[in-house]
């Protein structure tokens, strides 16, 4: 089942920061990892990922460095900075509050404002 993209819009940054919390990654690796872990719910277009990554880099939340691969390709790795780590914690808290609130509503029942 496909997911409405607007649901994803606000949380893409959190997903990317979370991946980078584990280890440094390059763009293609991020897209593949996100797709695998979400059972292909999050199949990003690469063209969506790079503007986000570059914005995060400009904001200082991630940094990057280049490495030469054994095939003599130059690969750009992204690394989570300290301020990126702090932002991730804030975003995770925000997300937990949001999910809890949505679940409470979806469960139904409970209090009504005008009874």
């Amino acid at each position: 089942m496909s997911v409405d993209k607007s649901l994803l819009a606000g949380s893409t940054t959190t997903l990317i920061l979370k991946l980078l919390e584990e280890r440094d990654m390059y763009g293609y690796e991020m897209i593949e990892t996100l797709a695998l872990r979400s059972d292909h719910t999050f199949d990003f277009k690469a063209g969506t990922l790079y503007p986000i990554l570059h914005t995060l880099e400009k904001q200082g939340l991630v940094s990057s460095y280049e490495q030469r691969t054994p095939q003599e390709r130059i690969r750009k790795y992204y690394h989570l900075t300290e301020s990126g780590r702090e932002r991730l914690q804030e975003k995770q808290l925000e997300w937990t509050r949001f999910v809890n609130a949505v679940e409470k509503i979806l469960k139904g029942g409970g209090v009504h404002a005008f009874q």
Partner: protein, 433 residues
């Protein structure tokens, strides 16, 4: 169509949407790499190379949309605050020079300085990183070449100046002022040697020596001290930030050896030599000039015209511009100027250390250190506590070579801020953040 042509065409379409041309290459390289990875994955799934390439391009998304999104991110950042402070310093300098000797203001150095600033500001600083060793070698070679072409100005010797002058008509270049570009050249050498462990630090120690020797040959004692302090700061910063992958204490201890040895040799030479060059250092060892300066400072008002007679102070335009300012406008404006200059350095240093590229960090540290050492030594000299004189007060005191070199250095540093995260380190196989 071969697969890489698909990629090149796609990347070109994306790049064309980005108005800031400097980053187009960086972006295209990253996207092309991604496309190659994606193509490999499709080939592994059983598609032929050409089909895999088409699928990889399709997976990337619409080139126009991607390019426009990237264009929103990639904008050069104009460092307005440092630029404003530099303009203020320049204005203060022009006012003081026009009051001191209105006929001596020569437009040509200011024109060349403006060109040097623009050159530095719009230069791709990543190029310096890619050719770090060559830049160091070039600066060293030109300096040594200049050393054989100098002539000695006896007039300057009598006034206690560093007196080696390189005549390139219509210019007379004070070689002592080349001190200003040595730290950045040395910083580039340190950058070149990063990731090479203790051996890299040893090479950096050796690379410190030729410039130090050059400055002792001229000789310029303040230049030697400025270069020594700046080079130590650069090497220690690199070791402290782990760029040599060695234990900090060991690395720092090793880094201290060549400058300490050089300082020892210098002190012995200074105290024992009777040569013409070294006598110039001792011209004011009785402190006569310093006493005069201190006397004038004590007669200065906090705000407004002070007492005393400046006519006995030599070289007001070049060496004692701030003393004239103190005498004419008071100690308050002097303190404000010093605070503004030191504040500029602290601002730049803090912002520089937040740069993610090692190259950006080193360039900013090199320029900021050179700048602040000039400001402090000049300030101390103008308060009457000089031991070894000063080079210049950037953008304020008179001096063509210093003005041009300071402008070039400032342009380079602001270029790092302008480029932001797009100052790229040269790629190595083992490089890590």
């Amino acid at each position: 169509m071969p697969s890489n042509e698909h990629f090149t065409e796609y990347c070109q379409q994306v790049s064309q949407q980005i108005r800031w041309k400097r980053v187009r290459g960086v972006v295209a390289q990253e996207l092309e790499q991604h496309l190659c990875d994606q193509q490999d994955a499709y080939v592994e799934q059983g598609h032929d190379a050409d089909e895999a390439a088409r699928m990889a391009v399709a997976q990337m998304g619409d080139a126009q949309m991607v390019g426009q999104a990237l264009n929103q991110t990639h904008r050069p950042q104009t460092p307005w605050l440092p630029m404003f402070v530099i303009l203020v310093l320049l204005a203060v300098g022009l006012v003081l020079q026009s009051m001191l000797s209105p006929d001596a203001i020569w437009a040509l150095p200011y024109g060349i300085a403006a060109a040097a600033f623009i050159l530095g500001y719009f230069m791709d600083t990543s190029l310096l990183g890619r050719h770090a060793g060559k830049v160091y070698g070039l600066v060293l070679a030109l300096s040594l070449l200049a050393l054989f072409r100098i002539r000695v100005s006896l007039h300057a010797v009598m006034l206690g100046h560093s007196f080696a002058v390189l005549s390139l008509p219509p210019f007379d270049i004070m070689l002592g002022n080349l001190t200003l570009i040595f730290p950045i050249a040395y910083g580039l050498f340190v950058y070149w040697m990063r990731n090479r462990g203790m051996l890299g630090i040893v090479y950096c120690g050796l690379a410190y020596l030729p410039f130090a020797g050059f400055l002792l040959c001229i000789p310029t004692i303040i230049g030697f001290l400025l270069y020594t302090i700046a080079s130590l700061v650069l090497l220690c910063t690199a070791i402290w930030l782990g760029w040599f992958h060695v234990r900090r204490v060991r690395g720092l201890a090793l880094a201290l050896i060549p400058p300490l040895m050089c300082c020892g040799v210098f002190l012995v030479t200074l105290l024992s030599s009777e040569s013409l060059q070294f006598r110039s250092f001792r011209i004011d060892l009785d402190g006569h000039l310093n006493n005069q300066v201190r006397e004038l400072v004590t007669q200065a008002a906090f705000w407004g015209q002070g007492g005393g007679d400046l006519s006995t102070i030599p070289n007001l335009e070049t060496d004692y511009t701030l003393l004239y300012g103190i005498h004419r406008f008071g100690l308050g404006p002097f303190l404000a100027l010093m605070l503004l200059s030191v504040g500029l350095c602290i601002f730049c240093m803090r912002r520089g250390l937040r740069q993610q590229s090692m190259l950006g960090k080193l360039l900013v540290v090199a320029v900021s250190t050179t700048f602040v050492l000039q400001v402090l030594s000049y300030g101390v000299t103008n308060l009457g506590y000089a031991l070894f004189g000063a080079i210049s007060f950037p953008f304020v005191s008179y001096g063509g070579t210093a003005l041009v070199l300071n402008s070039l250095l400032m342009g380079c540093m602001l270029s790092v801020f302008r480029m932001g995260p797009w100052v790229r380190d040269a790629v190595t196989a083992v490089q890590k953040v």
